[in-house]
């Protein structure tokens, strides 16, 4: 997730900055990723990369990379909206103080963009977390898979599935509560 946010922010900046070919590649990448279902990306990455490199990647590592790459596309769109939500005047104010592009990004734009985007980032993160169950498709071990194995071992599949659901709920609920309090703490005083 952290990787997705960092990569996604860079992608968003790439799309917004006038960097010619890089902006176009970033845009194409985001559009491609957002037009393909996640399950397909997971499967495709898992099956095709070994064909190209000649070496199997391993289900867990493959899943991790796919998620970072996929989520980056979504985070990038969120960040793009966030960056654009910060007014042009703020950019100018940073520049007028003598800040470089990176300084005004890091000190002025992104901190505000991030605050504006927090609720949507949270939603996307919860979706991402729940989507991890899709790695089921390539047999990587996630919470659901682990629950299934445990259920089979103890011959209690139903209970283990319920248990997995409860854990998903607790984690997502805690996360959303935490973000809400974070949001209160760093809110921009208007």
């Amino acid at each position: 997730m952290a990787g997705g946010i960092v990569f996604g922010t860079l992608l968003a900046m790439g799309r917004l900055a006038n960097l010619g070919p890089f902006s176009r590649v970033a845009t194409a990448y985001v559009n491609l990723m957002r037009s393909i279902p996640l399950v397909m990306v997971i499967l495709w990455f898992f099956l095709v990369i070994p064909l190209i490199t000649g070496r199997p990647v391993g289900a867990e590592r493959s899943a991790l990379i796919t998620f970072t790459a996929f989520e980056a596309a979504y985070y990038s769109e969120i960040m793009r909206a966030g960056i654009q939500s910060v007014s042009r005047g703020q950019v100018m104010a940073g520049q007028a103080l003598g800040m470089t592009y990176w300084q005004s990004m890091g000190l002025v734009i992104l901190p505000q963009a991030f605050r504006n985007m927090l609720p949507i980032l949270l939603t996307q993160t919860i979706i991402l977390f729940q989507d991890t169950s899709l790695v089921y498709a390539i047999g990587a071990k996630d919470l659901l898979k682990a629950a299934e194995i445990a259920g089979k071992n103890h011959n209690r599949p139903m209970e283990m599935y319920v248990f997995a659901a409860v854990i998903y709920f607790i984690l997502c609920f805690t996360l959303s509560t935490m973000v809400k309090s974070l949001q209160r703490k760093i809110a921009i005083v208007r």
Binding site: G89, A93, G94, A96, L97, G98, Q112, R115, I188, V189
Partner: protein, 242 residues
């Protein structure tokens, strides 16, 4: 200090600035006025390179603003700018607004920047607001903080882009009085404003713009005495009637 030579600028096909030339000497206060859409704000933003221009040249303290080789961030750090809508950083406290540029751009230590910031806050009469956020301040207070933020960089000159246009009438005075003090101390200032009282009190020269052209560029005495262009006469009569 500031030299503008034959500057022209287009937005697409629309020409916003036509052949503008003027000069601001060290220690001089120059007021730029004119009807809305006449290009005043655009011109002042060209001076520190916030707006690019296509033709002509602008020199600030001998440095070419339009030259791609110029280190614009460095140039801007020595030119203070105050905006119509204040543009304080809302996610920082007042004192952080005054120190961020000093620390990150000028490389001063935090203590040094804080001391300087506190002094400047005191000077604009807002010492007790250091820990507040800009959103908790009134418009006039925010604009005074913004002036302090610009001054914290020890600028060689100050640009004001309609500093009182977004303020309630009762707050205009407090901002203007800070600006007047600054002018009396000998700060070089270029001020886009409709405040003719301010121009009368402290300006040395007045530039009148219309349709992207500088139509008058004279001393204050001449401007308020006998404006030469018809357009300036009309503008003045409209403004001074109130």
């Amino acid at each position: 200090m500031i030299e503008i030579r034959n500057v022209s600028k287009w937005y697409g096909k629309f020409q916003v600035l036509t052949d503008c030339s003027s000069k601001v000497e060290k220690g001089e206060v120059v007021v730029v006025c004119g009807p809305s859409g006449s290009g005043k704000s655009t011109l002042i933003k060209c001076v520190n390179g916030l707006e690019p221009f296509l033709e002509g040249e602008i020199l600030v303290n001998g440095t070419q603003v339009g030259d791609p080789k110029t280190d614009l961030p460095k140039l801007r750090s020595s030119v203070g700018m105050v905006f119509q809508h204040f543009e304080l950083f809302p996610h920082m406290t007042v004192i952080e607004n005054l120190t961020v540029g000093q620390v990150k751009v000028l490389g001063r230590t935090k203590e040094e920047a804080r001391r300087k910031g506190a002094d400047l806050l005191d000077r604009v009469g807002l010492k007790e607001f250091a820990g507040k956020h800009p959103g908790q301040l009134s418009g006039g207070q925010q604009q005074r903080v913004a002036i302090g933020r610009a001054l914290a960089m020890d600028p060689i000159c100050m640009l004001f882009d309609e500093p009182t246009s977004a303020l309630d009438p009762e707050m205009i005075g407090e901002v203007l009085s800070v600006m007047q003090d600054l002018a009396r101390e000998g700060m070089t200032m270029m001020v886009v404003t409709h405040e003719m009282g301010f121009a009368r009190n402290v300006a040395h020269r007045v530039i009148f713009m219309d349709n992207g052209r500088i139509v008058e560029d004279t001393t204050k005495q001449e401007f308020f005495g006998t404006p030469r262009s018809e357009r300036a006469q009309l503008f003045l009569s409209r403004i001074l009637r109130h």
